[in-house]
Protein backbone atom coordinates (compact mmCIF):
# COMPACT_ATOMS: atom_id res chain seq x y z
CA UNK A 1 0.00 0.00 0.00
CA UNK A 2 2.84 2.38 0.73
CA UNK A 3 4.18 1.70 -2.76
CA UNK A 4 1.05 3.09 -4.33
CA UNK A 5 0.88 6.12 -2.00
CA UNK A 6 4.54 6.87 -2.58
CA UNK A 7 4.26 6.67 -6.35
CA UNK A 8 1.10 8.79 -6.25
CA UNK A 9 2.91 11.49 -4.27
CA UNK A 10 5.96 11.63 -6.49
CA UNK A 11 4.11 11.34 -9.79
CA UNK A 12 1.39 13.84 -9.08
CA UNK A 13 1.39 15.02 -12.70
CA UNK A 14 -0.10 11.72 -13.72
CA UNK A 15 -2.72 11.95 -10.98
CA UNK A 16 -3.70 15.43 -12.21
CA UNK A 17 -3.80 14.11 -15.79
CA UNK A 18 -6.26 11.39 -14.87
CA UNK A 19 -8.35 13.80 -12.76
CA UNK A 20 -8.60 16.35 -15.54
CA UNK A 21 -9.43 13.63 -18.05
CA UNK A 22 -12.23 12.42 -15.83
CA UNK A 23 -13.55 15.94 -15.24
CA UNK A 24 -13.50 16.68 -18.95
CA UNK A 25 -15.30 13.52 -19.97
CA UNK A 26 -17.85 13.86 -17.19
CA UNK A 27 -18.62 17.44 -18.19
CA UNK A 28 -19.07 16.39 -21.79
CA UNK A 29 -21.53 13.71 -20.83
CA UNK A 30 -23.43 15.44 -18.08
CA UNK A 31 -23.76 19.08 -19.07
CA UNK A 32 -26.98 20.14 -20.72
CA UNK A 33 -25.70 23.33 -22.27
CA UNK A 34 -23.77 22.86 -25.49
CA UNK A 35 -21.12 25.42 -24.57
CA UNK A 36 -20.38 23.53 -21.37
CA UNK A 37 -19.82 20.41 -23.42
CA UNK A 38 -17.26 22.27 -25.45
CA UNK A 39 -15.57 23.45 -22.26
CA UNK A 40 -15.43 19.83 -21.14
CA UNK A 41 -13.84 18.92 -24.46
CA UNK A 42 -11.20 21.57 -23.91
CA UNK A 43 -10.42 20.34 -20.39
CA UNK A 44 -10.09 16.80 -21.77
CA UNK A 45 -7.61 17.94 -24.42
CA UNK A 46 -5.64 20.02 -21.90
CA UNK A 47 -5.17 16.95 -19.74
CA UNK A 48 -3.49 15.16 -22.64
CA UNK A 49 -1.19 18.15 -23.19
CA UNK A 50 -0.29 18.15 -19.49
CA UNK A 51 0.66 14.49 -19.69
CA UNK A 52 2.92 14.98 -22.70
CA UNK A 53 4.64 18.08 -21.33
CA UNK A 54 5.23 16.54 -17.94
CA UNK A 55 6.72 13.48 -19.58
CA UNK A 56 9.38 15.70 -21.10
CA UNK A 57 10.49 17.21 -17.79
CA UNK A 58 14.04 16.53 -16.69
CA UNK A 59 15.40 17.89 -13.43
CA UNK A 60 18.48 20.05 -13.80
CA UNK A 61 18.44 20.11 -17.58
CA UNK A 62 18.75 23.14 -19.77
CA UNK A 63 16.50 24.37 -22.59
CA UNK A 64 17.16 22.75 -25.91
CA UNK A 65 19.45 25.45 -27.35
CA UNK A 66 22.91 24.12 -27.82
CA UNK A 67 25.66 26.19 -26.15
CA UNK A 68 29.30 25.29 -25.77
CA UNK A 69 29.84 23.19 -22.70
CA UNK A 70 26.20 22.97 -21.78
CA UNK A 71 24.79 20.34 -19.49
CA UNK A 72 22.08 17.82 -20.34
CA UNK A 73 19.44 19.25 -22.62
CA UNK A 74 15.72 18.65 -22.49
CA UNK A 75 14.28 16.74 -25.44
CA UNK A 76 12.44 19.43 -27.40
CA UNK A 77 10.17 16.95 -29.11
CA UNK A 78 7.31 16.79 -26.53
CA UNK A 79 7.11 20.59 -26.41
CA UNK A 80 6.79 20.85 -30.17
CA UNK A 81 4.16 18.11 -30.18
CA UNK A 82 2.11 20.04 -27.66
CA UNK A 83 2.41 23.29 -29.63
CA UNK A 84 0.91 21.59 -32.64
CA UNK A 85 -1.76 19.85 -30.60
CA UNK A 86 -2.74 23.14 -28.91
CA UNK A 87 -3.22 24.76 -32.31
CA UNK A 88 -5.38 21.81 -33.36
CA UNK A 89 -7.40 22.20 -30.16
CA UNK A 90 -7.92 25.90 -30.78
CA UNK A 91 -9.18 25.24 -34.30
CA UNK A 92 -11.58 22.59 -33.02
CA UNK A 93 -12.92 24.93 -30.34
CA UNK A 94 -13.39 27.69 -32.89
CA UNK A 95 -15.29 25.41 -35.25
CA UNK A 96 -17.40 24.01 -32.42
CA UNK A 97 -18.34 27.50 -31.24
CA UNK A 98 -19.26 28.55 -34.78
CA UNK A 99 -21.53 25.51 -35.01
CA UNK A 100 -23.10 26.39 -31.64
CA UNK A 101 -23.80 29.92 -32.89
CA UNK A 102 -25.49 28.44 -35.95
CA UNK A 103 -27.58 26.03 -33.83
CA UNK A 104 -28.63 28.95 -31.62
CA UNK A 105 -29.65 30.99 -34.64
CA UNK A 106 -31.77 28.18 -36.02
CA UNK A 107 -33.42 26.88 -32.87
CA UNK A 108 -33.12 29.65 -30.27
CA UNK A 109 -31.96 27.37 -27.49
CA UNK A 110 -28.70 25.82 -26.38
CA UNK A 111 -30.11 23.27 -24.01
CA UNK A 112 -29.64 19.76 -25.24
CA UNK A 113 -32.97 18.35 -24.10
CA UNK A 114 -34.96 21.21 -25.58
CA UNK A 115 -33.05 20.75 -28.81
CA UNK A 116 -34.01 17.09 -28.98
CA UNK A 117 -37.66 18.01 -28.55
CA UNK A 118 -37.55 20.77 -31.12
CA UNK A 119 -35.77 18.61 -33.64
CA UNK A 120 -38.10 15.67 -33.27
CA UNK A 121 -41.01 17.99 -33.92
CA UNK A 122 -39.39 19.15 -37.15
Amino acid sequence: MTGIAESLLTQYYHVVFVLLLGIGVYTMIDAKNLVKKIIGLNVFQVSVFLFLVSSGYLEGAEPAIVKDGGGPYVNPLPHVLILTAIVVGVSLTALALALVVRVYQEYGTLDEEHLQEVMSDD
Binding site: M28, L34, F44, L52, S55, L77, P78, A85, L92
Partner: protein
Protein backbone atom coordinates in the same frame (compact mmCIF):
# COMPACT_ATOMS: atom_id res chain seq x y z
CA UNK B 1 12.69 12.53 -57.30
CA UNK B 2 9.54 10.42 -57.20
CA UNK B 3 9.62 10.40 -53.45
CA UNK B 4 9.42 14.20 -53.32
CA UNK B 5 6.12 13.80 -55.16
CA UNK B 6 4.73 12.28 -51.97
CA UNK B 7 4.92 15.71 -50.41
CA UNK B 8 3.83 17.58 -53.52
CA UNK B 9 0.62 15.55 -53.69
CA UNK B 10 -0.35 16.91 -50.26
CA UNK B 11 0.81 20.45 -50.99
CA UNK B 12 -1.16 20.94 -54.22
CA UNK B 13 -4.67 20.74 -52.72
CA UNK B 14 -3.64 22.85 -49.71
CA UNK B 15 -2.31 25.64 -51.91
CA UNK B 16 -5.30 25.39 -54.21
CA UNK B 17 -7.72 25.66 -51.30
CA UNK B 18 -6.73 29.26 -50.61
CA UNK B 19 -7.46 30.40 -54.17
CA UNK B 20 -11.29 30.25 -54.01
CA UNK B 21 -11.29 32.14 -50.70
CA UNK B 22 -9.18 34.98 -52.06
CA UNK B 23 -10.95 35.00 -55.40
CA UNK B 24 -14.31 35.32 -53.67
CA UNK B 25 -13.72 39.06 -53.58
CA UNK B 26 -13.94 39.17 -57.34
CA UNK B 27 -15.86 36.16 -58.60
CA UNK B 28 -18.37 34.03 -56.83
CA UNK B 29 -18.62 30.57 -58.35
CA UNK B 30 -15.03 29.93 -59.21
CA UNK B 31 -14.46 27.20 -56.64
CA UNK B 32 -15.50 24.25 -58.78
CA UNK B 33 -13.02 25.08 -61.54
CA UNK B 34 -10.14 25.55 -59.11
CA UNK B 35 -10.94 22.22 -57.47
CA UNK B 36 -11.15 20.52 -60.85
CA UNK B 37 -7.75 21.78 -61.95
CA UNK B 38 -6.08 20.99 -58.62
CA UNK B 39 -7.51 17.48 -58.35
CA UNK B 40 -6.68 16.67 -61.97
CA UNK B 41 -3.08 17.71 -61.37
CA UNK B 42 -3.16 15.56 -58.27
CA UNK B 43 -4.45 12.60 -60.27
CA UNK B 44 -1.47 12.89 -62.62
CA UNK B 45 0.93 13.06 -59.69
CA UNK B 46 -0.70 10.01 -58.10
CA UNK B 47 -0.30 8.13 -61.39
CA UNK B 48 3.41 8.86 -61.49
CA UNK B 49 3.76 7.92 -57.83
CA UNK B 50 2.12 4.56 -58.55
CA UNK B 51 4.46 4.05 -61.49
CA UNK B 52 7.36 4.81 -59.17
CA UNK B 53 6.05 2.30 -56.65
CA UNK B 54 5.75 -0.39 -59.33
CA UNK B 55 9.37 0.20 -60.31
CA UNK B 56 11.05 0.66 -56.98
CA UNK B 57 8.90 -0.90 -54.31
CA UNK B 58 8.48 0.99 -51.06
CA UNK B 59 8.89 4.76 -51.49
CA UNK B 60 10.18 6.90 -48.69
CA UNK B 61 10.87 10.61 -48.38
CA UNK B 62 12.43 12.55 -45.52
CA UNK B 63 10.89 15.97 -45.09
CA UNK B 64 13.44 18.73 -44.64
CA UNK B 65 16.35 16.44 -45.26
CA UNK B 66 16.36 15.51 -41.60
CA UNK B 67 17.35 11.87 -41.28
CA UNK B 68 14.79 9.30 -40.39
CA UNK B 69 14.44 8.69 -36.66
CA UNK B 70 14.50 12.41 -35.94
CA UNK B 71 12.57 13.83 -38.84
CA UNK B 72 9.20 13.25 -40.44
CA UNK B 73 9.06 10.52 -43.04
CA UNK B 74 6.55 10.13 -45.82
CA UNK B 75 6.26 6.52 -46.91
CA UNK B 76 4.24 4.52 -49.40
CA UNK B 77 4.01 0.76 -49.54
CA UNK B 78 1.58 -1.91 -50.70
CA UNK B 79 -0.97 -1.10 -48.01
CA UNK B 80 -1.23 2.60 -48.90
CA UNK B 81 -1.14 2.46 -52.70
CA UNK B 82 -4.76 1.30 -53.19
CA UNK B 83 -6.01 3.91 -50.70
CA UNK B 84 -4.11 6.69 -52.48
CA UNK B 85 -5.55 5.70 -55.85
CA UNK B 86 -8.99 5.50 -54.25
CA UNK B 87 -8.76 9.02 -52.81
CA UNK B 88 -7.61 10.48 -56.13
CA UNK B 89 -10.44 8.82 -58.08
CA UNK B 90 -13.29 9.41 -55.63
CA UNK B 91 -12.36 13.07 -55.14
CA UNK B 92 -12.67 13.66 -58.88
CA UNK B 93 -15.91 11.68 -59.11
CA UNK B 94 -17.58 13.57 -56.27
CA UNK B 95 -16.51 16.79 -57.92
CA UNK B 96 -18.44 15.82 -61.04
CA UNK B 97 -21.49 15.08 -58.89
CA UNK B 98 -21.43 18.27 -56.86
CA UNK B 99 -21.28 20.39 -59.96
CA UNK B 100 -25.05 20.35 -59.98
CA UNK B 101 -25.99 18.79 -56.72
CA UNK B 102 -23.86 20.23 -54.01
CA UNK B 103 -23.44 23.71 -52.62
CA UNK B 104 -21.26 25.55 -55.07
CA UNK B 105 -19.99 28.30 -52.83
CA UNK B 106 -16.29 29.09 -52.80
CA UNK B 107 -15.84 28.21 -49.18
CA UNK B 108 -17.35 24.76 -49.81
CA UNK B 109 -14.67 23.97 -52.37
CA UNK B 110 -11.92 25.30 -50.15
CA UNK B 111 -13.07 22.90 -47.48
CA UNK B 112 -13.33 20.12 -50.08
CA UNK B 113 -9.73 20.62 -51.19
CA UNK B 114 -8.47 20.75 -47.61
CA UNK B 115 -10.34 17.52 -46.86
CA UNK B 116 -8.68 15.86 -49.84
CA UNK B 117 -5.30 17.11 -48.67
CA UNK B 118 -5.91 15.71 -45.19
CA UNK B 119 -6.98 12.32 -46.59
CA UNK B 120 -3.90 12.08 -48.79
CA UNK B 121 -1.76 13.15 -45.84
CA UNK B 122 -3.09 10.31 -43.67
CA UNK B 123 -2.33 7.87 -46.49
CA UNK B 124 1.26 8.84 -47.19
CA UNK B 125 2.63 9.70 -43.79
CA UNK B 126 5.11 7.51 -41.97
CA UNK B 127 5.14 9.24 -38.60
CA UNK B 128 2.56 8.62 -35.86
CA UNK B 129 2.18 12.21 -34.72
CA UNK B 130 1.93 13.46 -38.29
CA UNK B 131 -0.88 10.93 -38.65
CA UNK B 132 -2.65 12.57 -35.69
CA UNK B 133 -2.34 16.02 -37.29
CA UNK B 134 -3.68 14.82 -40.63
CA UNK B 135 -6.53 12.89 -38.97
CA UNK B 136 -7.52 16.09 -37.19
CA UNK B 137 -7.31 18.09 -40.45
CA UNK B 138 -9.54 15.49 -42.09
CA UNK B 139 -11.95 15.59 -39.20
CA UNK B 140 -12.15 19.39 -39.00
CA UNK B 141 -12.92 19.82 -42.66
CA UNK B 142 -15.39 16.92 -42.58
CA UNK B 143 -17.26 18.57 -39.69
CA UNK B 144 -17.36 21.85 -41.60
CA UNK B 145 -18.54 20.22 -44.82
CA UNK B 146 -21.26 18.23 -43.05
CA UNK B 147 -22.53 21.46 -41.50
CA UNK B 148 -22.89 23.03 -44.94
CA UNK B 149 -26.43 21.72 -45.34
CA UNK B 150 -29.35 24.08 -45.39
CA UNK B 151 -31.06 23.54 -42.06
CA UNK B 152 -29.98 23.51 -38.45
CA UNK B 153 -29.98 19.73 -38.17
CA UNK B 154 -26.78 19.49 -40.15
CA UNK B 155 -25.10 21.90 -37.71
CA UNK B 156 -26.24 19.83 -34.75
CA UNK B 157 -25.17 16.56 -36.38
CA UNK B 158 -21.81 18.10 -37.21
CA UNK B 159 -21.43 19.22 -33.58
CA UNK B 160 -22.11 15.68 -32.36
CA UNK B 161 -19.61 14.31 -34.87
CA UNK B 162 -17.11 16.96 -33.71
CA UNK B 163 -17.34 16.00 -30.06
CA UNK B 164 -17.19 12.26 -30.74
CA UNK B 165 -14.41 12.61 -33.30
CA UNK B 166 -12.28 14.83 -31.06
CA UNK B 167 -12.61 12.41 -28.17
CA UNK B 168 -11.45 9.67 -30.51
CA UNK B 169 -8.49 11.63 -31.79
CA UNK B 170 -7.48 12.63 -28.27
CA UNK B 171 -7.59 8.99 -27.16
CA UNK B 172 -5.33 8.20 -30.11
CA UNK B 173 -3.00 11.00 -28.95
CA UNK B 174 -2.87 9.51 -25.45
CA UNK B 175 -2.01 6.16 -27.01
CA UNK B 176 0.90 7.50 -29.00
CA UNK B 177 2.01 9.58 -26.01
CA UNK B 178 2.35 6.34 -24.03
CA UNK B 179 4.23 4.75 -26.93
CA UNK B 180 6.51 7.79 -27.10
CA UNK B 181 7.18 7.64 -23.37
CA UNK B 182 8.04 3.95 -23.72
CA UNK B 183 10.36 4.25 -26.70
CA UNK B 184 11.32 7.87 -27.40
CA UNK B 185 10.61 7.86 -31.10
CA UNK B 186 7.67 8.72 -33.31
CA UNK B 187 8.63 7.27 -36.68
CA UNK B 188 6.54 4.22 -37.55
CA UNK B 189 9.32 1.95 -38.74
CA UNK B 190 11.59 2.88 -35.84
CA UNK B 191 8.73 2.59 -33.36
CA UNK B 192 8.00 -0.97 -34.41
CA UNK B 193 11.61 -1.98 -33.78
CA UNK B 194 11.79 -0.22 -30.42
CA UNK B 195 8.46 -1.58 -29.24
CA UNK B 196 9.75 -5.06 -29.92
CA UNK B 197 12.78 -4.23 -27.76
CA UNK B 198 10.67 -2.90 -24.91
CA UNK B 199 8.64 -6.08 -25.04
CA UNK B 200 5.24 -6.68 -26.51
CA UNK B 201 3.74 -7.79 -23.23
CA UNK B 202 4.80 -4.69 -21.32
CA UNK B 203 1.90 -2.89 -19.62
CA UNK B 204 2.74 0.48 -21.17
CA UNK B 205 2.75 -0.98 -24.68
CA UNK B 206 -0.54 -2.78 -24.10
CA UNK B 207 -2.15 0.40 -22.74
CA UNK B 208 -0.97 2.43 -25.68
CA UNK B 209 -2.37 -0.17 -28.07
CA UNK B 210 -5.72 -0.08 -26.28
CA UNK B 211 -5.96 3.70 -26.46
CA UNK B 212 -4.90 3.78 -30.12
CA UNK B 213 -7.47 1.18 -31.13
CA UNK B 214 -10.23 2.86 -29.10
CA UNK B 215 -9.45 6.26 -30.56
CA UNK B 216 -9.30 5.11 -34.16
CA UNK B 217 -12.35 2.92 -33.54
CA UNK B 218 -14.38 6.07 -32.88
CA UNK B 219 -13.19 7.50 -36.18
CA UNK B 220 -13.95 4.28 -38.08
CA UNK B 221 -17.37 4.08 -36.38
CA UNK B 222 -17.25 0.56 -35.03
CA UNK B 223 -20.04 -0.63 -32.79
CA UNK B 224 -20.62 0.76 -30.08
CA UNK B 225 -18.66 3.87 -31.02
CA UNK B 226 -20.70 4.56 -34.13
CA UNK B 227 -23.49 6.74 -32.79
CA UNK B 228 -22.33 9.89 -34.53
CA UNK B 229 -22.54 8.28 -37.95
CA UNK B 230 -26.26 7.92 -38.78
CA UNK B 231 -27.06 11.53 -37.89
CA UNK B 232 -24.04 12.90 -39.71
CA UNK B 233 -24.75 10.95 -42.91
CA UNK B 234 -28.46 11.72 -42.96
CA UNK B 235 -28.18 15.45 -42.32
CA UNK B 236 -25.43 16.31 -44.76
CA UNK B 237 -26.00 17.22 -48.41
CA UNK B 238 -25.85 14.12 -50.62
CA UNK B 239 -22.55 14.90 -52.28
CA UNK B 240 -20.90 15.54 -48.92
CA UNK B 241 -22.44 12.41 -47.39
CA UNK B 242 -21.10 10.37 -50.30
CA UNK B 243 -17.61 11.81 -49.98
CA UNK B 244 -17.43 11.49 -46.21
CA UNK B 245 -18.87 7.98 -46.13
CA UNK B 246 -16.64 6.83 -48.95
CA UNK B 247 -13.36 8.24 -47.77
CA UNK B 248 -13.16 9.54 -44.22
CA UNK B 249 -13.92 6.30 -42.38
CA UNK B 250 -12.02 4.33 -45.03
CA UNK B 251 -8.86 6.30 -44.45
CA UNK B 252 -9.29 6.00 -40.68
CA UNK B 253 -9.61 2.23 -41.08
CA UNK B 254 -6.42 2.32 -43.15
CA UNK B 255 -4.73 4.23 -40.31
CA UNK B 256 -5.91 1.58 -37.86
CA UNK B 257 -4.54 -1.14 -40.12
CA UNK B 258 -1.26 0.71 -40.55
CA UNK B 259 -0.77 1.02 -36.80
CA UNK B 260 -1.88 -2.49 -35.87
CA UNK B 261 0.08 -4.19 -38.65
CA UNK B 262 3.18 -2.06 -39.16
CA UNK B 263 3.83 -0.47 -35.78
CA UNK B 264 2.51 -3.11 -33.41
CA UNK B 265 3.43 -5.89 -35.78
CA UNK B 266 1.65 -9.25 -36.01
CA UNK B 267 4.12 -10.48 -33.40
CA UNK B 268 2.35 -8.25 -30.90
CA UNK B 269 -0.93 -9.94 -31.75
CA UNK B 270 0.71 -13.35 -31.44
CA UNK B 271 2.28 -12.66 -28.07
CA UNK B 272 -0.98 -11.27 -26.68
CA UNK B 273 -3.65 -13.69 -27.82
CA UNK B 274 -6.26 -11.98 -25.63
CA UNK B 275 -5.74 -8.74 -27.55
CA UNK B 276 -5.96 -10.45 -30.90
CA UNK B 277 -9.17 -12.24 -29.95
CA UNK B 278 -10.61 -9.02 -28.55
CA UNK B 279 -9.91 -7.19 -31.80
CA UNK B 280 -11.49 -9.94 -33.88
CA UNK B 281 -14.55 -10.21 -31.63
CA UNK B 282 -14.95 -6.43 -31.58
CA UNK B 283 -15.05 -6.50 -35.37
CA UNK B 284 -17.42 -9.44 -35.47
CA UNK B 285 -19.75 -7.63 -33.07
CA UNK B 286 -19.78 -4.67 -35.43
CA UNK B 287 -20.60 -6.91 -38.36
CA UNK B 288 -23.63 -8.40 -36.65
CA UNK B 289 -24.84 -5.29 -34.85
CA UNK B 290 -24.51 -3.10 -37.92
CA UNK B 291 -26.57 -5.41 -40.08
CA UNK B 292 -29.25 -5.93 -37.44
CA UNK B 293 -29.59 -2.20 -36.84
CA UNK B 294 -29.71 -1.59 -40.58
CA UNK B 295 -32.69 -3.87 -40.98
CA UNK B 296 -34.63 -1.78 -38.47
CA UNK B 297 -34.20 1.50 -40.32
CA UNK B 298 -36.78 3.29 -42.40
CA UNK B 299 -34.69 6.14 -43.76
CA UNK B 300 -32.39 5.13 -46.58
CA UNK B 301 -29.40 7.20 -45.51
CA UNK B 302 -29.46 5.86 -41.97
CA UNK B 303 -29.69 2.35 -43.41
CA UNK B 304 -26.59 2.99 -45.49
CA UNK B 305 -24.81 4.40 -42.43
CA UNK B 306 -25.48 1.28 -40.35
CA UNK B 307 -24.44 -0.87 -43.27
CA UNK B 308 -21.10 0.95 -43.17
CA UNK B 309 -20.73 -0.07 -39.52
CA UNK B 310 -21.10 -3.67 -40.60
CA UNK B 311 -18.59 -3.43 -43.46
CA UNK B 312 -15.95 -1.79 -41.31
CA UNK B 313 -16.44 -4.54 -38.76
CA UNK B 314 -15.38 -6.94 -41.51
CA UNK B 315 -12.29 -4.85 -42.23
CA UNK B 316 -11.28 -4.79 -38.56
CA UNK B 317 -11.70 -8.56 -38.39
CA UNK B 318 -9.44 -8.83 -41.44
CA UNK B 319 -6.76 -6.69 -39.80
CA UNK B 320 -7.12 -8.56 -36.54
CA UNK B 321 -6.35 -11.92 -38.12
CA UNK B 322 -3.21 -10.38 -39.64
CA UNK B 323 -1.98 -12.76 -42.25
CA UNK B 324 -1.33 -11.54 -45.81
CA UNK B 325 -4.45 -13.16 -47.26
CA UNK B 326 -6.88 -11.62 -44.80
CA UNK B 327 -5.17 -8.21 -44.96
CA UNK B 328 -5.50 -8.29 -48.75
CA UNK B 329 -9.17 -9.13 -48.29
CA UNK B 330 -9.48 -6.21 -45.90
CA UNK B 331 -7.90 -3.80 -48.40
CA UNK B 332 -10.16 -5.05 -51.21
CA UNK B 333 -13.19 -4.63 -48.94
CA UNK B 334 -12.11 -1.09 -48.06
CA UNK B 335 -11.68 -0.13 -51.69
CA UNK B 336 -14.88 -1.79 -52.80
CA UNK B 337 -16.93 -0.44 -49.90
CA UNK B 338 -15.75 3.10 -50.60
CA UNK B 339 -16.80 3.00 -54.24
CA UNK B 340 -20.08 1.22 -53.48
CA UNK B 341 -21.14 3.38 -50.52
CA UNK B 342 -20.26 6.63 -52.26
CA UNK B 343 -22.22 5.64 -55.35
CA UNK B 344 -25.18 4.47 -53.27
CA UNK B 345 -25.32 7.92 -51.69
CA UNK B 346 -25.06 9.50 -55.15
CA UNK B 347 -27.99 7.36 -56.32
CA UNK B 348 -30.02 8.13 -53.21
CA UNK B 349 -29.35 11.78 -53.92
CA UNK B 350 -30.55 11.40 -57.48
CA UNK B 351 -33.76 9.79 -56.24
CA UNK B 352 -34.25 12.52 -53.66
CA UNK B 353 -33.58 15.35 -56.08
CA UNK B 354 -35.69 13.96 -58.89
CA UNK B 355 -38.58 12.40 -57.01
CA UNK B 356 -38.32 13.66 -53.45
CA UNK B 357 -38.08 10.18 -51.93
CA UNK B 358 -35.97 9.65 -48.84
CA UNK B 359 -37.67 6.90 -46.88
CA UNK B 360 -37.67 3.21 -47.54
CA UNK B 361 -41.43 2.93 -48.02
CA UNK B 362 -41.34 5.66 -50.62
CA UNK B 363 -39.02 3.53 -52.75
CA UNK B 364 -41.95 1.49 -54.09
CA UNK B 365 -41.67 0.79 -57.75
CA UNK B 366 -38.88 3.28 -58.20
CA UNK B 367 -37.08 1.19 -60.77
CA UNK B 368 -39.85 1.70 -63.25
CA UNK B 369 -39.62 5.48 -63.06
CA UNK B 370 -35.84 5.72 -63.22
CA UNK B 371 -34.61 2.52 -64.84
CA UNK B 372 -30.89 3.24 -65.23
CA UNK B 373 -30.34 4.66 -61.77
CA UNK B 374 -32.51 1.95 -60.26
CA UNK B 375 -30.52 -0.80 -61.98
CA UNK B 376 -27.23 0.73 -60.89
CA UNK B 377 -28.53 1.07 -57.33
CA UNK B 378 -29.57 -2.59 -57.30
CA UNK B 379 -26.19 -3.75 -58.64
CA UNK B 380 -24.33 -1.70 -56.04
CA UNK B 381 -26.53 -2.95 -53.22
CA UNK B 382 -26.02 -6.55 -54.30
CA UNK B 383 -22.27 -5.94 -54.34
CA UNK B 384 -22.54 -5.08 -50.65
CA UNK B 385 -24.08 -8.50 -50.05
CA UNK B 386 -21.19 -10.22 -51.76
CA UNK B 387 -22.57 -11.53 -55.00
CA UNK B 388 -19.79 -12.86 -57.27
CA UNK B 389 -17.94 -11.72 -59.31
CA UNK B 390 -18.15 -8.20 -57.86
CA UNK B 391 -15.60 -6.76 -55.51
CA UNK B 392 -17.63 -7.38 -52.34
CA UNK B 393 -17.47 -11.12 -52.92
CA UNK B 394 -13.72 -11.04 -53.58
CA UNK B 395 -13.09 -9.14 -50.36
CA UNK B 396 -15.16 -11.46 -48.19
CA UNK B 397 -13.65 -14.51 -49.87
CA UNK B 398 -10.09 -13.50 -49.08
CA UNK B 399 -10.93 -12.55 -45.50
CA UNK B 400 -12.69 -15.85 -44.91
CA UNK B 401 -9.79 -17.71 -46.55
CA UNK B 402 -7.32 -15.92 -44.31
CA UNK B 403 -9.43 -16.74 -41.28
CA UNK B 404 -9.56 -20.42 -42.13
CA UNK B 405 -5.81 -20.49 -42.76
CA UNK B 406 -5.23 -18.95 -39.36
CA UNK B 407 -7.43 -21.57 -37.77
CA UNK B 408 -10.29 -19.25 -36.80
CA UNK B 409 -13.18 -21.02 -38.46
CA UNK B 410 -15.73 -19.32 -36.21
CA UNK B 411 -14.82 -16.06 -37.89
CA UNK B 412 -15.52 -17.59 -41.29
CA UNK B 413 -18.95 -18.61 -39.97
CA UNK B 414 -19.59 -15.03 -38.81
CA UNK B 415 -18.63 -13.72 -42.26
CA UNK B 416 -21.05 -16.13 -43.86
CA UNK B 417 -23.75 -15.04 -41.42
CA UNK B 418 -23.00 -11.41 -42.25
CA UNK B 419 -23.73 -12.16 -45.89
CA UNK B 420 -27.15 -13.43 -44.90
CA UNK B 421 -27.80 -10.43 -42.65
CA UNK B 422 -26.78 -7.98 -45.36
CA UNK B 423 -29.05 -9.79 -47.76
CA UNK B 424 -31.94 -9.15 -45.36
CA UNK B 425 -31.90 -5.40 -45.74
CA UNK B 426 -30.66 -5.29 -49.32
CA UNK B 427 -33.32 -7.68 -50.49
CA UNK B 428 -36.03 -5.55 -48.92
CA UNK B 429 -34.69 -2.51 -50.71
CA UNK B 430 -34.29 -4.12 -54.12
CA UNK B 431 -37.61 -5.92 -53.85
CA UNK B 432 -39.42 -2.71 -53.13
CA UNK B 433 -37.75 -0.91 -55.97
CA UNK B 434 -38.60 -3.48 -58.56
CA UNK B 435 -41.79 -5.13 -57.41
CA UNK B 436 -43.54 -2.47 -55.36
CA UNK B 437 -46.72 -0.86 -56.55
CA UNK B 438 -45.56 2.14 -58.53
CA UNK B 439 -46.79 5.63 -57.88
CA UNK B 440 -48.56 5.08 -54.60
CA UNK B 441 -45.69 5.72 -52.20
CA UNK B 442 -44.09 8.94 -53.41
CA UNK B 443 -43.87 11.85 -51.05
CA UNK B 444 -45.93 14.98 -51.04
CA UNK B 445 -43.24 17.36 -52.22
CA UNK B 446 -43.72 18.71 -55.70
CA UNK B 447 -42.37 16.38 -58.30
CA UNK B 448 -42.86 18.53 -61.33
CA UNK B 449 -39.50 20.06 -61.71
CA UNK B 450 -37.04 18.44 -59.41
CA UNK B 451 -38.10 17.30 -55.97
CA UNK B 452 -36.11 18.69 -53.09
CA UNK B 453 -34.22 21.91 -53.41
CA UNK B 454 -34.74 22.43 -57.09
CA UNK B 455 -31.62 20.55 -58.07
CA UNK B 456 -31.86 19.37 -61.61
CA UNK B 457 -30.52 15.87 -62.15
CA UNK B 458 -28.18 15.81 -65.10
CA UNK B 459 -27.12 12.95 -67.30
CA UNK B 460 -23.65 13.29 -65.82
CA UNK B 461 -24.85 12.34 -62.37
CA UNK B 462 -26.74 9.29 -63.62
CA UNK B 463 -23.80 8.29 -65.81
CA UNK B 464 -21.51 8.52 -62.79
CA UNK B 465 -23.63 6.09 -60.81
CA UNK B 466 -23.93 3.65 -63.72
CA UNK B 467 -20.18 3.84 -64.29
CA UNK B 468 -19.56 3.07 -60.64
CA UNK B 469 -21.87 0.06 -60.81
CA UNK B 470 -19.98 -1.31 -63.81
CA UNK B 471 -16.67 -0.57 -62.11
CA UNK B 472 -17.43 -2.57 -59.00
CA UNK B 473 -18.34 -5.60 -61.06
CA UNK B 474 -15.15 -5.33 -63.08
CA UNK B 475 -13.04 -4.68 -60.01
CA UNK B 476 -13.62 -8.13 -58.63
CA UNK B 477 -11.42 -10.10 -61.06
CA UNK B 478 -9.02 -7.15 -61.33
CA UNK B 479 -8.47 -7.21 -57.60
CA UNK B 480 -7.31 -10.81 -57.59
CA UNK B 481 -4.83 -9.96 -60.31
CA UNK B 482 -3.37 -7.13 -58.27
CA UNK B 483 -2.59 -9.24 -55.22
CA UNK B 484 0.99 -10.00 -56.19
CA UNK B 485 2.01 -6.41 -56.85
CA UNK B 486 0.90 -5.18 -53.46
CA UNK B 487 3.42 -7.43 -51.73
CA UNK B 488 1.55 -7.38 -48.46
CA UNK B 489 3.79 -10.07 -47.07
CA UNK B 490 6.62 -7.57 -46.95
CA UNK B 491 4.40 -4.98 -45.31
CA UNK B 492 3.53 -7.39 -42.55
CA UNK B 493 7.10 -8.47 -42.12
CA UNK B 494 6.31 -12.14 -42.73
Amino acid sequence: MTDALLGVVIAVPVLASVVPLIASFWRDKIGWYVALIALSVNAFIVASIVRGFLNEGRLSHEVGGVSVPYGIELALDGLSVPILVLVALVSLGTLVYTRNAGPRSNSFYSGYLLLTAGLIGVTVTGDVFNLYVFIEITGLTAYALIASGDDGRSAYAALKYLIAGTVGASLYLIGIAYAFVATGTLNMADLSARLAEVGHSDTLVLTSFAFVVAGLGVKVALFPLHTWQPDAYSSAPYGVAAYVSALVSTVSAYALGRLVLTVYTPEFLVSNPVVSSALVYFGALSIVAGSVLAVLQTDVRRLLAYSSVSQFGLVVVAFGIANPTSVFGGVVTLFGHAVVKGSLFFAAGIFAYRLGVTRLDEYEGLARKMPYTGAAFAVLALTLVGVPPAVGFVGKWYVALGAVRAGETSVAVVIFASTLLTLMYVARLVDRMYYGAAGTGTSETAVADGGTGGVCVTYGMVALVVLAAIAVVVLGPVASAVQETLALGEVLGT
